[in-house]
């Protein structure tokens, strides 16, 4: 058998059920891999004792014949999820020392399904970033390496992507507000799905932009994404926006049969200056789906160009409201005050010290677009454009399109620090292909389909109809089978 930490969820599950391996053995293999991978800075709070305790309990359940989907499988948890008794600080200095007294619904569901949490994973501060460089823990590093440079694993779920790609865990949780699952998945040769808005409960996940945030799995294969998403999804009374719909057995829907499916190719996703490699990758992906029996159809999503500017009004606006709670009163950091400082000085100093630059920038942009005199010009305008962006997709689906194929990212992973001097807007452009479906609430999955000329992974993205993740994952499965991507990063860490 291969090293246990290198198994997929499906392989490990089957081995556990057969009794070929124990959860304790799987967990110990991952813990050893994690301890040897500090150079990746993926796990930022390790919980080995808790993991072994849960692994032992999972082994008992397996012995008793009670083996839910995720039973005994070791996973990593993005730091954005509140986990009872374990530090949860959204990679922010302002939540230094915060230890929740409660568990997020999604992490609780995974725990109830028997999953073993190995620790908390690095990310961009409050999920605001596309390179994992805004984290208070420092940069997470991509296990893929082609020269002396250290590359970004993407963001915001950069630690999750790095950990899965480096086989530090069998799978990990992520969250996606504008591409934070799909872009890091594409940068690391892993699979990531952002489900339909409302499919997973947001309760207990530290909020960035509530109308866009969704939890999702980051895995080694599409099959694993199906298994883990089923365990994470479902209605929750504690999140009024979670959908009260049955959660299907997504794995059972992976037949690989996509004959007769209509795949839309949006012409607006070919911006000027798009690299030839990405174009080729995209054309090859379409050819693979066609060879599998799908019909390829060019479609138009005319408002695509306006998705990113609309996002950079709506997301900061919601963030400025959500992050108002970090005031130095109830949890986290409080600034040391000077004699005579009142409560306003406490708020202002606490937030100046606790938040990083990108978070401050977005809070203030959000404050501005919501302020008197600008609310209509910016915020309401962006919400109207959002309606139009969603309508573009509805029109395509109404015309018979089953899924839309697009690139996941404009480039492969770039070097850490290379964008430091860039305009903030340049970093935002990383999300150009992913952000549209957050605005429309749609599910999207990134699948690795090839390597670029430098030897770095590239991914394609499939976008599906609302609440039809099963069908979407099946199309992704067909693409995965056809692409046959099996490359792994060579171990240097």
């Amino acid at each position: 058998m291969t090293e246990l930490n290198k198994l997929t969820l499906a392989e490990a599950r089957d081995a556990l059920r057969k009794g070929d391996v124990t959860s304790v053995e799987l967990t110990e293999a991952c813990l050893t891999a994690i301890d040897g991978a500090d150079a990746l800075n993926a796990f930022v709070h390790k919980t080995p004792e808790l993991a072994l305790e849960r692994a032992k309990a999972a082994d008992e359940r397996l012995k008793a014949g009670d083996a839910p989907a995720m039973c005994g499988l070791p996973i990593g948890m993005k730091d954005l999820y509140c986990t009872k008794g374990v530090a949860s600080q959204a990679a922010s200095g302002i939540l230094e020392g915060f230890v929740p007294e409660y568990e997020s619904t999604v992490s609780q569901k995974l725990q109830d399904a028997g999953a073993v949490m190995l620790g908390k994973l690095n990310m961009d501060e409050f999920a605001m970033g596309s390179s994992n460089e805004t984290s208070v823990y420092g940069d997470s590093v991509n296990p893929w390496k082609i020269d002396d440079r250290k590359l970004t694993p993407g963001g915001s779920s950069g630690g999750s992507a790095a950990a899965v790609a480096a086989d530090l865990c069998l799978a990990a949780t992520g969250t996606d507000t504008g591409g934070s699952i799909r872009q890091p998945a594409a940068f690391t040769g892993t699979v990531g799905i952002k489900p339909t808005y409302g499919r997973c409960s947001r309760w207990g996940i530290i909020a960035y932009a509530s109308s866009l945030d969704q939890a999702g799995p980051m895995t080694k294969t599409v099959r694993d994404a199906a298994i883990m998403l089923e365990a994470m999804a479902g209605h929750d009374m504690k999140d009024s926006t979670s959908a009260d719909l049955p959660v299907p057995n997504f794995e059972a829907m992976l037949t690989g049969d996509i004959r007769g499916k209509v795949i839309g190719i949006p012409k607006e996703y070919r911006p000027e200056g798009m690299s030839e490699e990405i174009k080729t990758l995209w054309d090859e992906g379409a050819a693979m789906l066609k060879a599998a029996g799908a019909e390829i159809r060019e479609i138009s999503l005319p408002h695509t160009k306006y998705a990113l500017p609309a996002y950079y009004v709506i997301a900061p606006a919601e963030a400025s409201s959500n992050l108002a709670r970090y005031d130095g009163v109830r949890y986290g950091h409080r600034a040391k005050l000077s004699a005579g400082d009142g409560i306003n000085e406490m708020y202002e100093k606490t937030r100046a010290e606790g938040f990083g630059d990108e978070v401050k920038r977005r809070i203030m942009v959000g404050t501005y677009v919501l302020s008197a005199g600008f609310y209509d010009a910016y915020y309401n305008k962006a919400r109207k454009v959002r309606t139009l962006i969603k309508r573009d997709f509805e029109d395509a689906f109404a015309a018979g399109v089953d899924a839309i194929l697009a690139p996941a990212t404009p480039t492969s992973a770039f070097g850490l620090g290379e964008m430091k001097s860039a305009d903030p807007v340049e970093m935002y452009l990383n999300d150009v292909f992913t952000v549209t479906l957050n605005l429309a609430g749609l599910p999207g999955v990134a699948v690795p389909t090839g390597l670029d000329s430098k030897g770095l992974p590239l991914g394609l993205q499939l976008i599906g109809r609302p609440f039809e993740e099963g069908d979407l994952l099946n199309t992704a499965y067909a693409l995965e089978q056809a692409a046959g991507f099996v490359s792994k990063p060579a171990k240097w860490w």
Partner: protein, 95 residues
Amino acid sequence: MSIDTGTAAKVAKLARIKVEDDQLPALAEEFNRILGFIEQLGEVDVEGVEPMTSVTPQRLKRREDVVTDGSYQDKVLSNAPDAREGFFAVPKVVE
């Protein structure tokens, strides 16, 4: 629309984030670049379009208006930077 240092200072104040005076010009410059990017939205014809309030058509669920949870004073206060006698403590607010 161009943001000057005075507007940047006002926004920082509204957001309750202390920004030193010498940082204000750089902040105003960043705002201008971001808002310049956002200005593209002006090109879109939104005549007669409703602003989105909910991305899924679902009605929000209702429940009985009763207490379902609570009595966790210790847990609520456990992460407070300063808690005394069952309360959050803050600098003096009224003279």
